[in-house]
């Protein structure tokens, strides 16, 4: 059996959510890796947008920032933050691929602050482009660590709205119709959202993980359907592509 790390597995599972011939806006870190992996495997015509303004680049080696020169390498167009987010605002970005410190049962994301906003316990970076991508793209894919603290019933601060308080809440708030969280990928499982209740539901557990383990490590009542499958392990092809993308193991580990 092939050996792989938890991060490699997450990257592979994440990459499977992306379709060929679609546009994805990716954030720093694992989302970037997953996008590049999809391009090298099942989605060669997947188009990546980076928020600083680069459109469809040919990323030559792992970038450090979503705005650095690697991310704009051989792009077909160079624009800016407004240019990217306006493209999203008019419905051209299919997938937003975001990370978050906390994600709740409605897919709301916190990346701003733990504790009181004005005298915080932990100050996090803030929205960056996450709120913009998450508000304006059709489908938001979220990557997070899986434990009770990171997946609470309610995030302490909604940096990027998911389904907010449930069905209809996004539309009522004024967000574009038909948008919202789509998938959540953690180190334990792949999850989606229940169409009726907008609550997070389990889709598959990663190889070697049990449904009970997932439940125990989730801070809210996760919907468990009858047909929970097992996430596909990364293939040899995917693992070798990952090592090409991040040869120094900066994100996927050594």
């Amino acid at each position: 059996m092939t050996s792989y790390t938890s991060i490699e597995l997450m990257a592979a599972v994440a990459s499977h959510q992306l379709e060929d011939g679609k546009i994805v806006g990716v954030g720093t870190g694992l989302p970037m890796i997953a996008g590049l992996l999809a391009q090298k495997t099942h989605a060669p015509n997947l188009i990546i947008f980076f928020e600083a303004g680069s459109i469809a680049p040919q990323v030559p080696t792992l970038p450090i920032s979503v705005g650095d020169s690697r991310c704009a390498h051989k792009a077909v167009a160079a624009t800016g933050l407004a240019g990217i987010m306006e493209t999203g605002q008019r419905g051209m970005i299919d997938y937003a691929f975001l990370g978050g410190a906390e994600v709740d049962m409605y897919g709301n994301i916190n990346s701003t602050v733990i504790g009181d906003h004005d005298s915080p316990k932990v100050r996090l970076p803030g929205s960056g482009g996450a709120n913009d991508f998450g508000s304006l793209s059709w489908r938001t894919i979220i990557i997070a660590r899986h434990d009770k603290a990171k997946l609470p019933e309610k995030v302490s601060f909604i940096t990027t709205p998911g389904y907010i308080e449930g069905p209809g809440a996004r539309e009522k708030a004024g967000l574009p119709k038909g948008t919202g969280p789509y998938k959540v990928i953690t180190n334990l499982a792949l999850m989606g959202f229940d169409e009726e209740t907008c609550r997070m539901k389990l889709i598959s557990v990663h190889p070697g993980v049990t449904v009970d383990q997932v439940k125990e490590n989730t801070g809210f009542d996760l919907i468990i359907p009858e047909d929970v499958s097992i996430s596909s392990a990364p293939t040899e092809e995917e693992l070798s592509a990952l090592r090409q993308i991040d040869p120094d193991g900066i994100i996927i580990g050594k």
Binding site: I64, A78, M85, T160, R170, G174
Partner: protein, 323 residues
């Protein structure tokens, strides 16, 4: 009921004020604006200035101007933090900053959080108003367009909105709920570019982030450029003018001016320098040692580059060119 964010509007001039400012203070003619870093900072960056920085936090940032602001010990800055990274962090290290319009700050992307930045916020030294990258870009664009606000469809339904100074509004045509983003007109912007002429025409290679709009939105604009070129550079290909000269108040030639940041097509990050800085940020003592060595003990950016060393500068160029 239309909601409004409870955050403070850190910059308060109106479009009529900016029209009057532009009428009285911005030069229209083609005038030589080449100056020095120290005199530009002395002239334009005062205690309490609302400052915006071009580039993307650690990419295409004007380090000569940032170091000089620290060196001149300017205080009580309010700063626009659309993907602020090393630029803001060094200003915080120099205790220059009171408040930040945060979209992204106090962190270094894949390198993780900055202890210095976090300490400043968690101790209450720095006040934060929340925004997003697009919100700040559109606020700047509103000012660049001469408008008091721009509508948008982000921010709604979030706590980011609640801690911003945005307002909800209804579309006059469709009745749909929108967010109204107030124009942001920085007192001073500092922007590092690839090419500038002596009049202030500028050309940026790669992504502009928001610097075309930023130059138009700001009361004063100080530009550092990798190279000063003759104006024929622009007149022969006017499509490549990212910033027209009349936006710009001061021009300084500053090769390697984004070090230790990345400058697209010129040089990549000086990763060991940045990691050294982040390590120094673990406590105030080591951070002050860093500033002593790299800022206070050098007279200017030329001396700083000597400290970095020609060998390192060459390596960073090779790294950028993927050699």
């Amino acid at each position: 009921m239309l909601r409004k964010g409870q955050g403070e509007l850190l910059s308060s001039c109106t479009v009529d004020e900016i029209r009057d400012w532009n009428r009285k203070h911005k030069l229209r003619g083609l005038v030589d604006k080449v100056t020095t870093v120290s005199s530009a900072v002395e002239k334009y960056v005062k205690d309490g200035t609302y400052l915006a920085i071009g580039g993307f936090g650690h990419i295409r940032i004007s380090m000569p101007l940032i170091y000089e602001i620290v060196r001149q010990r300017v205080k009580h800055l309010r700063v626009s933090g659309h993907t602020a990274v090393h630029d803001l962090d060094v200003l915080i290290a120099g205790d220059c900053v009171d408040a930040v319009d945060v979209a992204y700050a106090f962190a270094y992307e894949t390198r993780g959080l900055s202890k210095n930045g976090r300490r400043a916020v968690e101790s209450g030294r720095i006040k934060c108003v929340e925004w997003t990258n697009a919100s700040l870009s559109w606020r700047i664009k509103a000012a660049a367009m001469g408008l008091p606000f721009l509508p948008a469809r982000n921010l709604l339904g979030s706590d980011t909105f609640e801690y911003s100074a945005a307002k909800e509004m209804e579309c006059p045509f469709t009745g749909q709920k929108l967010v109204a983003l107030p124009a942001l007109m920085p007192d001073v912007s500092i922007i590092h570019v690839h090419y500038a002429d002596k009049y202030g025409n500028c050309s940026i290679r790669g992504t502009t982030v928001k610097d075309d709009d930023l130059a138009k939105a700001s009361k004063r604009v100080i530009v550092t450029a990798e190279r000063i070129v003759p104006d024929t550079f622009f007149r022969d290909n006017p499509e490549r003018t990212t910033i027209p000269y009349f936006c710009v108040d001061a021009v300084i030639e500053a090769p390697h001016g984004s070090h230790p940041g990345n400058m697209p097509h010129e040089y990549y990050f000086d990763e060991s320098h940045i990691r050294g800085y982040l390590k120094a940020g673990a406590n105030e003592g080591s951070l002050q040692e860093y500033l002593d060595k790299w800022v206070y003990s050098v007279k200017d950016f030329d001396e700083y580059l000597d400290l970095v060393g020609s060998k390192k500068l060459k390596e960073l160029r090779q790294l950028e060119e993927l050699r």
